[in-house]
Symmetry: C2
Subunit: 344 residues, 2 copies
Amino acid sequence: MRATLMYNAGDVRVVDVPEPSIQNPTDAIIRVTYACVCGSDLHPYHSLEETPDGRRMGHEAIGVVEQIGDDVARIAVGDTVIVPFAWCDNTCVYCRDGVTTSCVHGGFFDGASSATQAEKLLVPQADGTAVVIPAGTDEALMPSLLTLSDVYLTGYHAAHKGGVEAGKTVVVIGDGAVGLSAILASRQLGAEMIILMGRHKARTDLGREFGATHVVAERGDAGIQKVLEFTGGEGAHVVLEAVGHMPAYEQAYGIVRPGGTISRVGVPQYENAPVGFASLFGKNATLTGGPATIRAYIEAALPQVLDGTIAPGKVFDRELPLSQIAEAYRLMDSREALKVLIRP
Amino acid sequence: MRATLMYNAGDVRVVDVPEPSIQNPTDAIIRVTYACVCGSDLHPYHSLEETPDGRRMGHEAIGVVEQIGDDVARIAVGDTVIVPFAWCDNTCVYCRDGVTTSCVHGGFFDGASSATQAEKLLVPQADGTAVVIPAGTDEALMPSLLTLSDVYLTGYHAAHKGGVEAGKTVVVIGDGAVGLSAILASRQLGAEMIILMGRHKARTDLGREFGATHVVAERGDAGIQKVLEFTGGEGAHVVLEAVGHMPAYEQAYGIVRPGGTISRVGVPQYENAPVGFASLFGKNATLTGGPATIRAYIEAALPQVLDGTIAPGKVFDRELPLSQIAEAYRLMDSREALKVLIRP
């Protein structure tokens, strides 16, 4: 079958690989019908070292179940399913707490032997991981349903962990698809004042459509000053950091209000950061976030997409076949595309 | 009047200084009747550079109001009051949120021109800051009431910000007076399993009396392993970090459970720390805490002390007159004393 491998920074190719096969009785094999490229795929696209055997790419998928292991009971061959970016048994002590990305039987598709930018996908812990889309669902809803495998619910995770609710002022740092999703989620959670820090008009326009009330194009100190201006000098109750680079983190603690919360979902491209008296501690700011616990949120979000309450699939502004996925990476890296839907 | 000044690391002296006088109509002057030395006073005791004019010391006090400014209405001359370590108007936008340490008219006694290890104290924003102790209160309760100016409520702040509640497993790092207070507060908030990381028997004994169910004397990796053992490999829902040094922080993220919270009240003696995928982000851990918002908690804690529900004053194991405060610093620095009460 055809699958996407990355061999070096900027070097993405679609190549022939062996078809996946059931390894454990809890596995399932799906035929991928919808996949996409994630902003986080651009991190290795910038920095991957030479990898002669290639790194399998992709962690967002909708597909049709082709085969199930003997212990799989909650999904059946022929079902169309959403596959979150992390697999989990959905029954362990951490899953029961909702921290599905820390499942004791869990893992991440990224860089694993199975990944979603491919014709077929091995899904470990299939009963816990995959969520069935009702038969007969309008095909036009599939892009929005695909966002429940990562991007929309990663934005939701940021807002949920940040404690967004009615009356809270929210700043979203980053106008990528996750940042825009965080706006949509914040609006769903009742936030009225939502400030988007971003500078790409097509994106900030979608941000406004999703619920942003203010847009700040400035970065660094100028951006901080602008946010303080919009908030009467007080800063934001909640800052949703959807970038992952240090300048975004520095912006976050510059604009968070005393007693407020910074919620990160951009995968940090740093390990150490300021957390002392001058940054977080002095103003009793809270730092939260992490890999989005998608699986814990899908059941609640699915009906919202099916009934049209939210249309997070608007983040897809291009569609390409799997054979042209290298072009999808290029378009996203150059910011010509916000997020590219891939049809294997 | 006599006041405590620090001139250099380890150099604490009681000297004559001018009596304080009302500077603003919102000020009050109190005659200090109870003060004490704080664990955080030991940070400058270790590291203060030569300061020819001396640094005024002390931020915990009970005293009798001697004089009030024209705008002071809520306290009267003759009242006995608790003075928290930070002054605040208790009416500003941050105070109304409970973040009294970020008050727009606030400040910290530490290092200011007025400090509590002295015969008299200038209290700015006296109406917002000082809390009256009912007339006729038993003198024997004063040490416990004094802990409401900092140490007990700093422990409470850690527990409150960490979300301690029934069913949560709590680890307290540090067997100083704040750590022990955090145990007492966690017990009040309903925690059943409370693990104290500390190695000084007299202190860990008091920790057990305050509610600790387990004591871990080991530090570093050995301490982390021990906590994991006690928690079935899962780690703690809440880690209360009451030290402020990097090894304590490293221990904290080593033992926090996925989705759990680290709440810091030890003033960080570092600015940068690990917060990336390998420490906080990967397991969706939350980092919170800061200078304790004491003022927001006093009204609720006062009746608990007055009716004997809690006796946080047990952290005082020595009492000295102001003239011997240098010895109090020495005793606490050498860990011969847990916390020393000072009678000016």
